[in-house]
């Protein structure tokens, strides 16, 4: 029968294993700093890269989150947006009618509060101000609540924030219809704030006097989610 291989030599393997594992696991704590540095260094290169190879690297790409655990899916034909609450003329609008409204385009970095940033994303949609004003807000309306058709995701903006020119009801992402994973067919895009404010799978807009906290705000995130000035982060504004 075989003799056990002699156990001479330096015990390096276990040290390499433990060292690497400690390095990797501790990265949970230091990784956010490294991630910021990496986005900073690689982000600009990845945008200019024509081969698309850098696009495979884990930097400058969307991560898909959903709050319900599955991806809500709705065809544009079955989608309608309700606008109501403290409004003189509540109304609802279908996908094709939305496309008929004056369109705006925004090209900006998409910044998530968990640290990742997708450089120079192209959005197309309708100004939220136009959508809201068509419902004729009443004097008491001071804020806007948004609801997703996933049944769980909600968000809010003050009326003043909602009327900014860089806040849109978006239906195109990088020149294509917005996929279900990205919150399509229609989602909010709130350019000056962290991604969680840009509610996905939009289906209802309600004008209110006093907003109830949105989904992520109930998890402890800031209500006013200005990029670089909230949630204890210091990112460059988009």
């Amino acid at each position: 029968m075989p003799i056990v291989e002699s156990m001479d030599g330096t015990p390096i393997g276990r040290r390499v294993f433990l060292g690497l594992a400690a390095f990797g696991v501790s990265g949970i704590v230091w990784g956010s700093k490294a991630a910021g540095l990496m986005e900073h260094l690689l982000g600009p290169i990845a945008v200019k890269d024509g081969s698309g190879l850098l696009g495979l690297l884990p930097t400058g790409r969307f991560r898909i989150y959903s709050v319900t655990g599955n991806l809500p899916d709705r065809a544009p034909g079955n989608w309608r947006l309700e606008v109501g609450g403290l409004a003189g003329m509540p109304y609802s609008i279908g996908f094709d009618e939305l496309l008929g409204l004056p369109a705006v385009e925004l090209t900006k970095d998409f910044q998530c509060v968990t640290g990742w940033r997708v450089p120079q994303v192209r959005w197309k949609g309708v100004r939220l101000a136009d959508v809201i004003d068509q419902a004729v807000p009443q004097a008491g309306a001071a804020a806007v609540e948004f609801e997703s058709f996933d049944g769980a995701y909600t968000e809010t903006l003050t009326l003043e924030q909602a009327r900014r020119g860089d806040v849109i009801v978006a239906y195109e992402l990088d020149g294509k219809p917005i996929s279900s994973a990205h919150g399509g067919p229609v989602r909010l895009y709130v350019a000056p704030m962290y991604g969680y404010k840009s509610l996905k799978w939009l289906q209802r807009i309600t004008l209110v006097a006093q907003p109830r906290p949105g989904y992520w705000e109930q998890q402890g995130y800031d209500v006013d989610a200005w990029i670089g000035r909230s949630n204890g982060r210091s990112d460059t504004p988009a």
Binding site: P2, I3, V4, E5, S6, M7, D8, G9, T10, P11, I12, G13, R14, V16, F17, L18, G19, L20, A21, F23, G24, V25, G27, I28, V29, W30, G31, S32, K33, A34, A35, M38, L56, L57, P58, R61, F62, R63, I64, S66, G69, N70, L71, V113, T114, G115, W116, S179, A181, Q219, N231, G232
Partner: protein, 212 residues
């Protein structure tokens, strides 16, 4: 010649299956293109999480007791780098005078790396999946580490499979458990001698060695 016992082979293929599922479902979750072709993101996420949580199970089943003896002995061998191993590494495998034991140093380093990477993936994956109790920055850190480690792991696995496929005798060791004696004598002379006893290694090549 016996190379890997039943437990070791079972662990290897159980783990390979789990990692295969994790790589595939992970790629679907990671790549926008694959996701949009296959859809059903929630389903793949569920599979990914379940396979990830199962990752330690084969190790916990294989390591203890009598059945884990061969595995534990081999882990001890993988831990130790001989003077020959160091020369092999210095020459990047080119030094023909090096007499290797059961594993070459590349395999030893690969074991350490893949093992550490799996631990890292599991830990960061847990933070990603059950993020509520952790600070936001940890989630960022875990995302970052999980992504880059996945990339490193994918490269290591590609290399591992490539080398296995290009050396069918070595691959056979993990499939049937045995390798041809000639392979052992050429590629792992020190291990060959230890298995046969020094007397056998003095004999002329080949036929004298009994089959498994």
């Amino acid at each position: 010649m016996d190379r890997f016992d039943r437990t070791e082979r079972w662990l290897h293929w159980a783990n390979a299956t789990l990692v295969g599922v994790l790589v595939f479902t992970g790629a679907v979750l990671y790549s926008g293109e694959l996701s949009s072709i296959l859809g059903r993101r929630a389903f793949f996420k569920e599979i990914h999480v379940i396979a990830g949580l199962c990752l330690p199970v084969p190790f916990l089943l294989a390591l203890p007791g009598r059945r884990g003896r061969g595995l534990r002995r081999d882990l001890g061998v993988l831990n130790r780098f001989s003077a020959d191993d160091v020369r092999w590494l210095r020459s990047r495998g080119g030094d023909r005078t090096v007499r290797l034991g059961k594993f070459n140093p590349g395999q030893k380093l690969n074991t350490a790396f893949v093992g550490a990477a799996l631990v890292t993936m599991l830990a960061t994956g847990l933070v990603l999946r059950f993020f509520n109790p952790f600070p936001l920055a940890w989630r960022t850190g875990a995302t970052f580490i999980h992504d880059w480690t996945a990339l490193g792991l994918a490269l290591a696995i590609t290399g591992h499979v490539w080398l296995a496929v290009s050396d069918p005798d070595a691959l056979g060791g993990m499939v049937s458990g045995t390798v041809p004696a000639g392979w052992a004598r050429r590629k792992r002379p020190r291990w060959y001698e230890e298995q046969q006893g020094p007397a056998v290694s003095e004999e002329p090549a080949g036929s004298a060695v009994p089959g498994p």
